[in-house]
């Protein structure tokens, strides 16, 4: 597979480490009333779609960027690659 790194261009998938569902970005608020339930879901319950999937890849043999890769799990077709940091900021993650 080839991942089109937003900063470095097309790179072989062998340079990356796979983590999984990009929902791991959405770490729940530890101060929420239902924090225990939400952390449980965050930690254990993931979708495993046959089709489009947003997932986290880490460019370990490269610039160490975490990327959010949108990949079709049936065809390996990759339709979008973004810096996870940008995605996280967009989703309102901050201090």
């Amino acid at each position: 597979m080839i991942i089109n790194h937003p900063l470095l261009g097309p790179r072989d998938a062998a340079e990356f480490v796979y983590l999984g569902d990009a929902s791991l970005i959405d770490r729940p608020d530890p101060n929420a009333e239902d924090a225990a339930d939400r952390f449980f879901e965050y930690g254990y319950l993931r979708d495993n779609p046959a089709g489009m999937h947003e997932e986290l890849w880490y460019h370990e043999q490269g610039d160490r960027s975490w990327l959010v890769v949108t990949r079709d799990t049936l065809t390996h077709d990759i339709t979008a690659v973004r810096l996870a940091r940008d995605v996280a900021k967009e989703r309102g993650r901050s201090k």
């Binding site: 597979m1 080839i2 449980f40 960027s65 975490w66 940091r85 201090k95």
Partner: protein, 982 residues
């Protein structure tokens, strides 16, 4: 030996004769021969024995689809089994042996199995060797394995070198036959970067085997001229002897290039290169494979594919027989008769299954239309054929043509399914091709030459235009054309004798019918029940005929019956090529510590820790075993001073305005208020609340920290920190870099450690307890100006320091430490002594942080700050993880102090039976404590902290061992910590 079957013409270099050996006999051939063509030229018809029945077999094809002519090539460690003689390029002094016989090839002692064939039908082994069960592995399997299988291994290490490489191109053209050449030509003249790969050593494909004309030249000459022209272009890479074996994601293709297989010796060069080709577009021009027709005893040596006969006669100038017959269901077969006549080879008969008018007159040949071959005779070579008309014809070679199957394999590598084309009675590529791939020529089902070449030309032009190139204005090559009509005719039903479908696996028409009768009707079941289509040829000549027979049984059409899925590789890829250079020690190279050389010179035994080699202990003369050395290292360290290389611990340099805040989030304990110049122990959890890693982090400046991790987790912790930084808290101003390799670090431990370091640390640095107290850190210089970092931390429990210098000074630093330590009798210690001392101190390590234990279990519950959040905190508060009787890390000592403890033992109450239900925990680390004089252990036991003094059983069923142990504090040595603070 004379080359009795050598004829005129061909593309062999008669000026370069080559001598070779087959089964110990000397033969001669020419440069340009394959082993198969050279054997044919020498009249060697019998080349092997079949897999199951040990039937005599000859050469069947002229390419990589060969099911029969498998040989063991070369000698000694270079021996390679199951090599297809039809693809082996002849070289001088080549040596080959036939396979799968006991005794000689001519008189195989295993040939009796052929007479047992009524019993050895499909599923024989499954049905026969069912009981008794104990005999499966002890008796049946060894006996069957000894009798089965084809080639044998040398059982020596492969002495050849294999390489891997990466290539990039705009257009990859797979196959250098007429359509592949036409496609490459169109793309190359349009300026695209082109790679043209072909498994053969001579470009041109079928043009070398046929008598077609292209652009007014002989096809083979046209191909050679174009090959030369393409070779001169800077934007073209020609790769002969290269098989594209797999189509992978995103335009990546696997290729195996055979670099020295055609030479007597590799000469120190890589034998083969496994290429990964990154293509923007790919053209599949893999051609087609001829298929046989099944009839009685159709496996005799001398019976071969008609197209192969043309290859041997036209390309290799070697005739497979003196009186050749042709059995065909299509026009293409007649081409064989014409070519043979033109070459002066006698044609005995042409038998066409179609009841139509003869296509042409072949001088002196019997022409029989609307008939088939029913049976054959001749044990070691074909002698006679019997037709369905009852006629008998004396012939020594039968060329069979059942039509052509497009080589669709690579179109299926990404879930594509071929579709059935009624007009050519064959599967053609389906709609879903691997992205970026187009199929041209015979592989697409274009079985006429002009159509194939103009189609390929046009498609290649469109593809490079799509990539932004200006397509060439050159016209497509023009070819002499011959339409070929054929009929769907798969086997001669009138044949009573066994009719082979899969020659390599000895599967007959009867086996397929039996598979049907016994309910194995799906193609996938058929394949597994009969072994059809397995092994080196993967059913290239047998899959479709087998489907046709199954379709007859089920009364369905062939496409309804199905097709097997083709997966990579297209042809076998040697394990050596897949491994490349990653063999033996190079499979996973070691990382060496800065003191490695010193340690090796000083009696160290090394141990693998992750990728590192670390000194495990340093043996001294007179010591009888590792325990002697380890005990001494511990005693001398505790008595005076010891030195240990701890470079392997992960080091992460963390800087930024929010560095402290960041650490506060990833560690369970507080780091915000850690003063500059101080070190703190930190514990990390996984998000599920289980302990992950621990280490010390030093604050070198307001916004500058250095974290250490365990050796094993150095890479993983860094990865997680980057995840936390980029994905969880992207707004934090924090940056980090792994500095594990940048700093050499040594632990200097023991009561004399300060005195030793005082000799090395540049003045006026104050090492006293007041000036540099427990858990202090500083940046300073040593040995007259070498930059260094000092940490007053202790894993051993003694007064101890860690000193770090830039890695390039690491070796020198070890020398300096040992020299300065001479007056104190300083001792180097390895990982074993390190382990003993940490167990004596009750420190948790990898055995305790094993992915099952929480901070509470480890006795580190107090380290999870109640005042702040951290990774893992929320889930660590789950009730189940905080039960009253949760396991706790405590110490254990044997009641009978002469007994040794064993790690892995489980704790059972004295009165309970040793069962899973009564399991109370386990022993995680044990050591012999030279200070205490007995074995000690760390382990987890339910509510251990409230059970001090209680005696339980440590049961180790694996070692059949049981020891009574007393629960004690894990701090065996200096529990108040007075020594490390001194």
């Amino acid at each position: 030996m004379k080359q009795i079957r050598r004829i005129a013409g061909g593309f062999i270099d008669r000026k370069t004769p080559l001598s070779f050996e087959f089964n110990g006999r000397r033969f001669e051939g020419y440069q340009g021969d394959t082993l198969a063509s050279a054997l044919i030229a020498n009249g060697q018809t019998l080349v092997g024995r079949s897999f199951k029945y040990h039937r005599p077999r000859g050469i069947f094809s002229a390419g990589s689809e060969e099911p029969n002519a498998l040989v063991e090539l070369r000698k000694g460690a270079f021996q390679e089994p199951n090599t297809r003689a039809t693809t082996v390029e002849l070289f001088d002094q080549l040596s080959a042996k036939s396979q799968n016989h006991r005794g000689s090839l001519e008189f195989d002692l295993m040939a009796f199995t052929d007479y047992l064939s009524p019993f050895l039908s499909a599923g024989f082994y499954y049905k026969t060797f069912m009981w008794p069960k104990f005999a499966w592995e002890k008796l049946y399997e060894p006996a069957i394995r000894a009798a089965a299988g084809l080639g044998s291994l040398s059982l020596e290490d492969d002495p050849d070198i294999y390489d891997k490489g990466f290539l990039h191109c705009d257009l990859l053209v797979i196959g250098a036959g007429p359509s592949g050449l036409a496609a490459a030509r169109a793309a190359a003249f349009s300026g695209a970067q082109v790679i043209l790969a072909d498994e053969d050593f001579r470009g041109g494909g079928r043009l070398n085997s046929e008598t077609f004309e292209v652009d007014g030249k002989k096809g083979a000459d046209w191909a050679q001229a174009l090959w030369q022209e393409l070779a001169s272009l800077p934007n073209v890479r020609l790769m002969s002897r290269t098989t594209i074996y797999g189509a992978y994601d995103h335009g990546i293709y696997g290729a195996l290039e055979r670099r020295t297989d055609h030479l007597p010796h590799s000469g120190g060069k890589p034998r083969q290169i496994l290429w990964r080709i990154y293509s923007k577009r790919a053209v599949l021009a893999a051609g087609a494979t001829e298929r046989p027709i099944a009839f009685g005893n159709n496996d005799r040596p001398g019976i071969m594919l008609a197209g192969a006969v043309r290859s041997y006669v036209n390309r290799f100038a070697a005739t497979p027989g003196k009186r050749i017959s042709i059995f065909t269901n299509n026009d293409d077969g007649w081409r064989t008769a014409r070519d043979l006549s033109a070459q002066g080879v006698s044609v005995a008969a042409v038998i066409d299954s179609r009841d139509i008018a003869p296509l042409t007159d072949i001088p002196h040949a019997k022409i029989v239309m609307g008939a088939g071959v029913m049976d054959t005779s001749g044990r070691k070579a074909l002698k006679e054929i019997t037709l369905t008309t009852g006629q008998r014809i004396t012939t020594d070679c039968l060329a069979v043509s059942g039509g052509w199957n497009p080589n669709v394999h690579l179109t299926c590598h990404q879930r594509g399914r071929p579709s059935w084309a009624e007009d050519i009675n064959a599967f053609v590529p389906g709609k879903h091709l691997p992205p970026g791939m187009q199929v041209v020529g015979a592989a697409q089902g274009d079985l006429t030459l002009s159509q194939a070449m103009s189609g390929a030309h046009q498609k290649a032009k469109e593809m490079v235009k799509d990539l932004g190139f200006t397509a060439t204005r050159k016209a497509a090559p023009k070819a002499s054309d011959e339409a070929s009509m054929g009929a769907a005719f798969w086997h001669v039903g009138a044949s009573k004798a066994r009719a082979w479908i899969d020659l390599q696996n000895d599967v007959t028409v009867k086996d397929i019918r039996q598979s049907y009768q016994e309910g194995f009707r799906s193609v996938e079941h058929l394949k597994r029940y009969t072994t059809l289509g397995m092994a080196t040829d993967q059913g290239k000549t047998s899959n479709i005929p087998a489907l046709a027979i199954m379709a007859e049984c089920t009364g369905k059409t062939i496409p309804e019956t199905g097709t097997t899925i083709f997966r990579p590789p297209y042809t076998p890829v040697p394990m050596g090529a897949l491994a490349g250079r990653a063999r033996g020690k190079d499979f996973r190279p070691y990382r060496l510590t800065p003191s490695h050389r010193w340690a090796a010179e000083n009696g160290a035994t090394f141990v693998e820790t992750g990728n590192w080699l670390r000194a495990q202990w340093y043996a001294r003369p007179g010591e009888k075993g590792w325990r002697d050395s380890v005990d001494r290292e511990v005693e001398m360290t505790r008595a005076s001073v010891g030195i240990c290389d701890v470079t392997t611990l992960g080091k992460i340099d963390i800087q930024g305005k929010d560095a402290a805040l960041f650490l506060n989030q990833v560690y369970t304990n507080a780091f915000l208020k850690l003063p500059v110049g101080k070190v703190r122990y930190g514990l990390m959890l996984r998000e599920d609340g289980i302990a992950y890693d621990d280490g010390t982090t030093a604050r070198l400046g307001e916004n500058h920290f250095v974290m250490t991790t365990t050796t094993a987790n150095a890479v993983l912790v860094f990865r997680r920190l980057e995840f936390a930084r980029q994905c969880l808290w992207p707004e934090l101003d924090v940056h980090m870099i792994s500095s594990t390799d940048a700093w050499a670090q040594f632990a200097v431990a023991g009561p004399n450690s300060r005195a030793l370091l005082q000799k090395l640390v540049d003045k006026p640095f104050d090492l006293s307890n007041e000036g540099f107290g427990f858990m202090a850190c500083a940046e300073t210089t040593v040995c007259g100006g070498t930059p260094a970092r000092l940490f007053r931390i202790s894993f051993s429990g003694e007064l101890a320091f860690e000193i770090a210098v830039p890695a390039r000074f690491g070796t020198a630093m070890m020398d300096c430490l040992m020299q300065a330590g001479q007056e104190f009798d300083a001792v180097p210690y390895g990982t074993e002594a390190l382990g003993v001392m940490r167990i004596e101190k009750g420190h948790a390590a990898g055995n305790e942080l094993n992915g099952q234990t929480s901070a509470l279990n480890l006795g580190l519950g107090g380290f999870v700050s109640a005042k702040k959040d951290c990774i893992g905190k929320t889930l660590s508060q789950r009730p189940e993880m905080n039960r009253e009787d949760a396991i706790r890390l405590v110490g254990f000592k044997p009641v009978d102090q002469s007994q040794a403890l064993s790690a892995g033992a489980h704790f059972i109450a004295l009165s309970d039976a040793a069962t899973m239900a009564n399991d109370q925990g386990w022993m995680s680390s044990v050591a012999y404590s030279p200070v205490l004089g007995h074995s000690i252990g760390l382990g987890f036991i339910k509510a251990g902290h409230e059970r001090m003094g209680e005696v339980v059983r440590a049961v180790n069923p694996a070692q059949k061992k049981e020891v009574q142990v007393k629960i004690v504090s894990p701090h065996f040595y200096d529990p108040d910590g007075g020594r490390q603070r001194g």
